[in-house]
């Protein structure tokens, strides 16, 4: 009996965080029903995750940009431009992959810092500075692809980033032949790791006499999350296993989640978003933070460009079009606040998944593109309204 009241209370208090999971779950359930299960098929889910990749990494970076009360509109075409540079470096310049990728990432950081310069030094609104970047990089893509048009990338290693899957444990072919064993193993490790870390943090909190979830609700949460990870792993293992794109996204999210929640740098970023003047007077170098956040955004744009070019196995003249808006929408759907100082990296990833699931599901259902835009717009508004409504009622 008290278990249900506990559960109700927990849900009500954390409605904002769980709301997104519930929304994602609902969307997936609806599409599964309307497409006779095609939506949830291993192949489609695997595809969906691979398509989310290049928006997801942008959404991660955009989260931080919005948290510090700025915006970066240039990321889409920057990604496209750097994808084209990667293609040119691989083909015309004949550079190897292991040089091209770090080189392009560094160029991304530089590009981000260039956008940050007028913002940090002169106080120019980032909307304007990055709008200029939008125009410039758009021109730049056209310029570098002027002679060739679409550049086909023949490099297999490079193309594997967007299309390949991690290889399986060798010598186990006879055991569970339809499934990808390494993926299952990694999934299992993830579940164990998750449970141990949750139990540890709960024990720690109890030692400090903090309020914790009641043991019933806690167990339910563990079971639910483990089941979720397990399910995704199972579905993926049934196709080709983990793709390199998913691995990359997981690493990026892991690193950014750690930095934003656990480190001094993360704290400084959120404090600056909450009150820039107070942050500055607390000895935080806000100019430096602007460079750091935009620099990271630039690096992730480069990564997004690489993922996209690799997925298409080519660089096109229109690569990156509207990526920035998808990333911004994902961040807002994921609970970032425009007022600054609020928003989680993990939320934005869920936001990206929500938006991409919509696209994928509606494509499967054969819904016309015009309607798709309208639906996505409506979902964006609903998500933000929900977010604002739950925030004020929490007061």
């Amino acid at each position: 009996m008290s278990f249900f009241t506990d559960l109700q209370k927990t849900l009500r208090q954390n409605i904002r965080e769980y709301g997104m999971f519930i929304a994602l779950f609902l969307i997936m359930a609806i599409f599964t029903a309307t497409t006779d299960g095609v939506f949830i098929s291993p192949r489609n889910i695997s595809n969906l995750l691979n398509q989310t990749g290049y928006i997801a990494v942008l959404a991660v970076g955009m989260t931080l940009v919005i948290v510090i009360r700025h915006i970066d509109l240039s990321v889409g075409f920057l990604a496209g431009f750097l994808g084209a540079i990667a293609a040119i470096a691989l083909t015309s310049w004949g550079l190897p992959v292991y040089i091209v990728i770090p080189m392009v990432l560094v160029m991304g950081v530089l590009a981000g810092c260039i956008t940050a310069f007028p913002v940090a030094q002169l106080g120019i609104p980032s909307f304007v500075a990055s709008l200029a970047g939008w125009l410039i990089y758009r021109g730049a893509i056209l310029l570098v692809t002027l002679k060739t048009g679409t550049i086909i990338i023949p490099d297999e290693a490079f193309n594997a980033i967007g299309n390949g899957y991690i290889s399986d444990i060798p010598g186990l072919d006879s055991f569970l032949p339809e499934l990808h064993k390494l993926t299952l193993l990694l999934g299992l490790i993830a579940i164990v790791f998750y449970i141990i870390s949750e139990i540890n943090s709960r024990r720690n909190k109890i030692a400090y006499n903090f309020e914790v979830l009641s043991s019933g609700v806690f167990a339910l949460k563990l079971i639910f999350m483990s089941a979720l990870i397990g399910l995704i792993t199972w579905v993926l293992a049934g196709y080709n296993g983990l793709s390199w794109t998913v691995v990359i996204v997981l690493i990026v999210v892991g690193v950014y989640h750690f930095v934003t929640t656990q480190t001094v740098l993360g704290r400084h970023i959120y404090a600056m978003g909450g009150n820039p003047e107070a942050a500055q007077l607390s000895g935080i170098n806000v100019k430096k933070l602007i460079y750091v956040v935009f620099g990271s955004m630039g690096m992730l744009s480069a990564l997004s460009g690489i993922l996209f070019a690799s997925r298409l196995q080519s660089a096109t003249t229109t690569a990156g079009t509207l990526f920035e808006l998808d990333a911004i929408a994902a961040a807002y759907v994921g609970g970032v606040s425009a007022a600054g100082g609020v928003g989680k990296v993990t939320g934005s990833i869920i936001g990206a998944l929500v938006m991409l699931s919509l696209t994928s599901g509606m494509n499967l259902m054969g819904i016309d593109i015009s309607l798709q835009y309208i639906v996505r717009g409506a979902v964006l508004v609903m998500a933000v309204v929900f977010d604002v409504a739950t925030r004020t009622s929490g007061k």
Partner: protein, 506 residues
Amino acid sequence: MDTPILEMKDITKEFPGVKALSNVSFRVKKGEIHCLVGENGAGKSTLMKVLSGVYPYGSYTGDILFDGEPQKFFNIRDSERAGIAIIYQELALVPEMTVYENIFLGNEIKGRFVIDWNETIKRAGDALKKVRLNVNPETKVKDLGVGKQQLVEIAKALSKDVKLLILDEPTAALNEDDSENLLNLLRELRGHGVTCILISHKLKEVIEIADSVTVLRDGQTICTLDAAQGEVTENRLIKNMVGREINNIYPPKEKREVGESLLEVRNWNAYSPALGRVILRDVNFNVRKGEIVGIAGLMGSGRTELALSIFGNPVGYQIRGDIYIKGKKKSFHHPQDAISAGVAYVTEDRKGNGLVLIQDVKQNITLANLREIAKRSVVNDNMEVKVANEYKTSLNIKTPTVEQKVMNLSGGNQQKVSVAKWLFVKPDVLILDEPTRGIDVGAKFEIYTIMRRLVSQGMGIIMISSELPEVLGMSDRIYIVSSGRITGELPIEEATQEKIMQMATN
């Protein structure tokens, strides 16, 4: 005169984890000036927000009777329509708009389709006359001082035909003259039949102006005192507010040795490009180990600018002059430099640039010294809570947990969080800018005690304050600032209010 205009009965209001008001009763007679006093977090602001509909009917329990009628206010508009106007602790004017636009904001005078600006300006002029504010209605609000802005707020309220005017700590940020002005205005309004509720921590002015006083403590009504019966005395107010007697407002000074010079500023000049004028001229002063140095002066004399320009100059003044820390010449290009040299600055405007309101108590306390609780740049959350709880206890911060968002604390407790934040930096020199603004007598005493303890442990404190009694009661030495210059230095033995005022105004 004895009919109540307002009766609030059995008001109970809860926030998650806090019972801000429990069964509060509050009665205000028609045409009186009724003061509401109590410690920080006693529930004064909350009670007024219940009354004015900020917390809508249904989010609290109890009854409100206004003008003999039971009332259900669902928002501020409802209470305004009934004739209640509230002026909040924080001013709510739009700085970039003109005085007349502000006065009629949300209440625009329309012609057939569009705003009738001529009529607006004329009526704004009338409203300004009522509050005896002699400014051109076309001035932008940001170009007025705080005192005048306060009067604009009142003019705005009066333009709406109010019966009951509520002012939440209106004089906290005003100097003596402006405060006196405001109190006179309230008396005049009383003459015109406007009832007034005034929240204040300045007991002197409460005694001076109140017809009756209601004391709240811990969300409960303690008593209502009647001035005509001679019940409103300082001792009685304090005793009812705090629940015990406080005999000395200032803790006793111990004999201490004053040591080496910790911070010295020489030939300090600052020019503000934003304002286009020189704001500090040839300032020389120092603070030594074990002493509290008071900096007195009128509002706008340049004291906060002085502190900011020393503290790493975040505003970007052009500066000439030298800073010496323990005799060594230093230059600070960023607040960070000042902090690492052992200087801390508790700002005057805690909401504007002191605290991150959307973050919780513990995050605010540790913000300026995160490295202390981090190992290789990774923050130790548990240590953070431990540190925060230590300050919660030692400064007596009233909050259910250190995980409470700072915006949910009462004004005075927010101030304590600011102080805690800078104590955690463990500085050698602590600059306090108006440290007791908006703080109740009990908490003031606590902060004063902490200051004494810190100097006896070897810190040097610079206290900027507009409260002369506080400057005289706490300082070991006093500098007086006027128009960006230091116009005098007095050892405490020679200092008097008259001398300071004279130096501050020349």
